[in-house]
């Protein structure tokens, strides 16, 4: 994605998070560009959008997203892009084709034919693709007007998975019915069946994104096996790896059964290394269910988890109750260490959203990850992984686990009319408030005796007497405006603590 596209995305994402107008100064700050650029960017977004302006502007107030249009826009956006190819999209498509057929060479003319590009462009594309493939230890070979990608099977599959975008946007539950995705329907049904088999054998459920990961792996396995004969695999199996696999009879057994099913489905033989490949994916997935609890955590997992919790606790300046997060996080760390070891990458589709929403936490996690990598001599922990870990800590902050609830009193003249109604509305929208009582205003003086520790009074009627407690007058309607004011008040109280 070019940096410009990126900016557009970031801008839209930022606006979508703000209900109200956003000043253009804020946008220049967020995007780190000039005011003019912001203006141009917005104009471009609005011009490109067919159904009228996506971003509304108002003098003196700034910019705001037309939310309804935005949601529609997101839906349309994917389809609209299909008709034309940017250079990077063109390269991606060509690389897809080459990867799926690797190591078979494909005629250059056939590859580039439909894109109507000249020799110099083709030459340039080759350079760029070659560079991209280096990341996966793969080479692009040009011979007699053909191109071929060469390298180890494991690396080729990894590249396929990263490059073919479709694997990053699929939703397992949606797969069966989604006709837009260009998957082979029989393959999809077969693989979903295998996923269910895995879950049944192990009595677990495989949550997102691991289910997508295994799905993609199996789908690629099917496509690859049809296109090239298996004997072309050049990979050597790591001996240690195989030993580990054989020591894990449960997962090994499942991997064997599934690969056997695939053999039957393809009606052709597969090399044993496929069992090992699949086993890696199983070991590296986070599983939910009884099977997991019986497996113990290794001391490395425990150590790494501890370091994350301790370091993040210092960085965020909060006390993290260990029990609350430890098991969850450790259950994530365990397969993550496996992924690192076996270089399996899971895509984090929410990454850009996580980065903007929890920017600070993400930066902190990234730093702790660096520290962890050094301390435990692990490979670099990438942003996708950091994004997942960020969510564990964001959850703590979001659920205000470290903030005790605010003791709140609700009042009106009788203590029985609008106040009761308000109580229901408030507790629905603001779980961080603990409503201790509903009272009549004439019983004000009883507050001190009965509820000395109350921190906030919400009232539907104006109060004459001054009280040394946070106080907010809200309407019984509990409008958006009221909710915003209450949110501010809550933040004020948190700050004072």
């Amino acid at each position: 994605m070019s940096s410009k596209d990126n900016r557009e995305q970031k801008l839209l994402l930022f606006l979508s998070k703000n209900q109200d107008y956003v000043k253009s100064e804020n946008l220049t700050e967020i995007l780190n560009v000039s005011q003019k650029t912001v203006y141009r960017l917005i104009k471009k977004i609005n011009d490109d959008h067919e159904g009228g302006s996506l971003i509304l502007s108002e003098k003196g107030r700034g910019y705001k997203l037309d939310y309804e249009k935005f949601i529609n826009y997101q839906k349309i956006n994917k389809k609209y892009k299909e008709n034309q190819f940017s250079p990077s999209e063109r390269r991606k498509r060509i690389m897809e084709e080459l990867l799926l057929y690797s190591p078979k060479p494909i005629n250059i003319y056939r590859l580039f034919n439909k894109y109507y590009v000249g020799d110099s462009v083709i030459f340039n594309d080759e350079q760029v693709m070659s560079e991209e493939l280096k990341k996966y230890n793969l080479t692009l070979e040009r011979k007699n007007k053909t191109l071929a990608i060469l390298g180890e099977e494991f690396n080729i599959r990894k590249a396929i998975k990263d490059i073919i975008e479709i694997f990053n946007i699929i939703d397992i539950d949606d797969l069966k019915n989604n006709k837009e995705l260009n998957f082979n329907k029989y393959d999809v049904l077969f693989i979903l069946d295998q996923l269910r088999n895995i879950e049944e054998y192990l009595a677990i459920t495989i949550p997102y994104p691991y289910n997508v990961n295994i799905f993609s792996h199996l789908y690629i396995l099917l496509s690859r096996s049809r296109k090239i004969p298996a004997c072309n695999f050049t990979d050597e199996m790591a001996k240690d790896g195989i030993k580990n696999m054989e020591n894990d009879p449960v997962l090994y057994g499942v991997a064997k059964v599934i690969v056997n099913n695939i053999k039957k489905y393809l009606n052709s033989d597969l090399p044993d290394i496929e069992i090992y490949f699949l086993y890696q994916y199983l070991v590296s997935s986070r599983m939910q269910g009884s099977f997991v609890q019986t497996t113990t955590l290794s001391s490395e997992v425990i150590q790494v988890t501890k370091v994350y919790i301790e370091e993040m606790s210092i960085k965020l300046g909060i006390d993290i109750e260990k029990q609350s997060i430890f098991i969850d996080l450790a259950n994530h760390i365990k397969p993550m260490l496996n992924r690192l070891e076996h270089k399996i990458r899971i895509r984090n589709n929410l990454l850009s959203e996580i980065k903007t929403t929890y920017e600070e936490i993400f930066v902190d996690v990234t730093n702790v990850s660096k520290f962890v990598s050094e301390k435990f001599s692990l490979p670099t922990i990438n942003d996708d992984e950091n994004g997942f870990i960020t969510l564990y800590f964001a959850k703590i902050i979001e659920t205000s686990q470290y903030q005790r609830p605010i003791k709140t009193l609700i009042m009106c003249t009788t203590g029985i009319g609008t106040s009761d109604l308000l109580k229901v509305k408030v507790s629905k929208k603001f779980p961080e408030l603990e409503i201790v009582d509903v009272m009549a205003t004439r019983n004000m003086q009883m507050i001190k005796e009965k509820h000395a520790d109350v921190e906030l009074i919400l009232s539907t009627v104006h109060m004459e007497a001054e009280v040394p407690i946070h106080y907010l007058l809200v309407s019984a309607l509990f409008t958006m405006e009221d909710q915003k004011r209450l949110q501010k008040k809550i933040e004020e109280i948190y700050l004072e603590r």
């Binding site: 009788t414 029985i416 009761d420 229901v424 309607l477």
Partner: protein
């Protein structure tokens, strides 16, 4: 539904102003004593001055606690025609739910009333009350509570 029942429904009420509504309520509390009626009206006015009792679009929840209330009651007033200007801020009122609370009411009744007010947080429910065309349907909604 007789006069003593806890819930009372006045369907298609021909009331056209806030003042008429207040008088109507005071009449329910007490039919012959003018000074008591006046006091009830004043109490209603004071409550509204202290804070709006609008609980949803088109719906108000006037409520008072008074020695003059003999039996606590919840009264539904479905207006025949909307009151387009209630006061300077509030417009287009179609339904009033009035809580009349006897002073020092028993905990049991208080609980009953507070349970009822909580159901009003359900917008769907309010919409059904607002949109029932027949008195019978309207009453059915209330009985269901």
């Amino acid at each position: 539904m007789n006069d003593n029942s806890f819930y009372q429904v006045y369907f298609n009420c021909e009331l056209e102003t806030k003042k008429e509504v207040h008088n109507f309520i005071s009449n329910i509390v007490c039919q012959n004593n003018i000074s008591i009626k006046e006091e009830v009206v004043n109490q209603l006015i004071r409550r509204e001055k202290a804070g709006s009792t609008l609980i949803a679009e088109h719906v108000m929840l006037p409520h008072i606690e008074s020695d003059h209330v003999k039996n606590s009651q919840i009264i539904f007033i479905r207006l025949a025609k909307p009151i387009l200007t209630w006061d300077d801020h509030i417009e287009d009122i179609r339904l009033l739910i009035v809580l009349l609370l006897k002073r020092s009411e028993s905990e049991h009744i208080k609980k009953k009333i507070s349970l009822f007010t909580r159901t009003l947080a359900d917008e769907e429910y309010l919409n059904r009350l607002l949109n029932s065309k027949e008195k019978y349907n309207f009453e059915q909604e209330i009985i269901r509570i």
